[in-house]
Amino acid sequence: MLSYLIQRVLLMIPTLVAISVITFVIIQLPPGDYLSTYIAELQSQGENVDIEKIEALRAQYGLDRPMIEQYGLWVLGMLQGDFGFSFEYQLPVSEVVGDRLFLTLVLNFATIIFIWIIAFPIGIYSATHQYSWGDYGLTFIGFIGLATPNFLLALVLLYLANVWFGTSIGGLMDPEYIGQPWSTNKVISVFEHLWVPVVVIGTSGTAGMIRRLRANMLDELQKQYFVTAKAKGLHPLKALLKYPLRASLNPFIADIGNMLPQIVSGSAIVSMVLSLPTTGPMLISALQSQDMYLAGSFLIFLAMLTVVGMFLSDIALAYLDPRIRLGGSAEK
């Protein structure tokens, strides 16, 4: 296993290098840079622009250097723990991101747990009670969940909360705690606000997972090993949980690689609608304003999460289902 881990880790290095190059090139592709966007913005407001000052800023930020040099400085700085400087916020990237990354992680891990807690029992029930009223009902609810855009659900909840309770459910904490140091009351406030975005973001994910789990379970339940296990007298629940459910989990484990970056970047539109202080809106804003170091840091972090997620899912799959990595039909 150690050799396997080593080879997988070594394969990740060129992958990440390639991703960093592509990320940097894509960020640089639009014409101009942050300062040209800034100049255009000032001119549109009718303000005078001091070209000499702009050139001085361009030299200060290293935007006048060749692209390869800028890339080298960016990557070297990032590897040393310096993510660069955000032009838009006039602060180091690590300070700009601040609590946002942590709150995003809290929100999205809570969403994932919500999805799994709701989807697993329903998915198993639907599969084991195929074509029953319960299955039809849950399938119908699942389709509604899949068909409803998250941002629309967020708008509806905002409206209903305002009309019925006269309150705003936006944000992840009460306004008095924004920008304040962490305290017990702040944590309680976060938990009080957390359920709304969790339900909003989690609805479609739950519906999707119910459908996939049901389909996978139905495949497994018809296989001979399950019929044999039941015929030999194994308790139905034990037979169900130990074999078909385990085999049905493979797609979800394989999905970890996609799930991890979504923890940071996903739910950006919902975050905008609900005024959530997460990283999604910040990433979009950074891309729009060509705040290259902020956007680049986000994108490379997402790529790293994807690669690490794939690595973790491969290892988990190897343990969960040995047929995938450790099984036969291979040549020495």
Partner: protein, 175 residues
């Protein structure tokens, strides 16, 4: 009786991998000016590669003496396991490719107390596999489905008398 050692090619390949990984991860760790999530990942990588380097070093100075009665690892950590006491056999297959080609096998033998792990890069691995499959059949050792499949795919069936799978499947042999 025969003696097996890891091939020079596989040992030098592992040294190269361990050194490259250690230089990259430890180098980046030492060059850090701030502690971020990347530094934790580099630290984990450095520990992993250092462990791999140590294991490669141990492998270089280890060899296996296989007799009809036992298998013995000699070198820095000596270990001997009698075929008669063998009660647990696992054969895993690892590959970093999606099509599962160009991988390697890892054979783990245990008598409940002593455990010996061998990779298929060991010269003479096939001979050990042959003795092992015969022992599994003779002693009726229970193995997992994965292990059984892996033995079959490597040319040793655990279903019959320990003969290679192709011979068992050849109808001409019955005539």
């Amino acid at each position: 009786m025969f003696t097996c050692k890891y091939s020079r090619k596989s040992i030098s390949g592992d040294y190269v991998r361990a050194t490259i990984g250690l230089i990259i991860t430890a180098g980046l760790l030492l060059a850090a000016t701030q502690i971020t999530i990347f530094q934790y990942i580099f630290a984990a990588g450095a520990i992993l590669f250092f462990g791999f380097l140590l294991r490669t070093f141990l492998r270089q100075f280890s060899s296996f003496i296989v007799t009809e009665t036992n298998i013995e690892r000699i070198g820095l950590f000596k270990r001997s396991l009698s075929w008669n006491n063998l009660n647990n056999v696992t054969l895993k297959y690892f590959s970093t490719r999606r099509d599962r080609k160009d991988g390697w096998y890892q054979l783990t033998l245990s008598d409940g107390i002593i455990k010996i792990t061998i990779d298929s890069e060991l010269m003479g691995f096939d001979n050990i596999m042959k003795i092992c499959s015969d022992t599994v059949i003779q002693k009726r050792i229970t193995v997992s489905e994965t292990t059984s499949d892996n033995f079959t795919s490597s040319g040793f069936s655990l279903m019959g008398s320990g003969q290679p799978h192709e011979e068992l499947m050849d109808p001409a042999k019955d005539e």
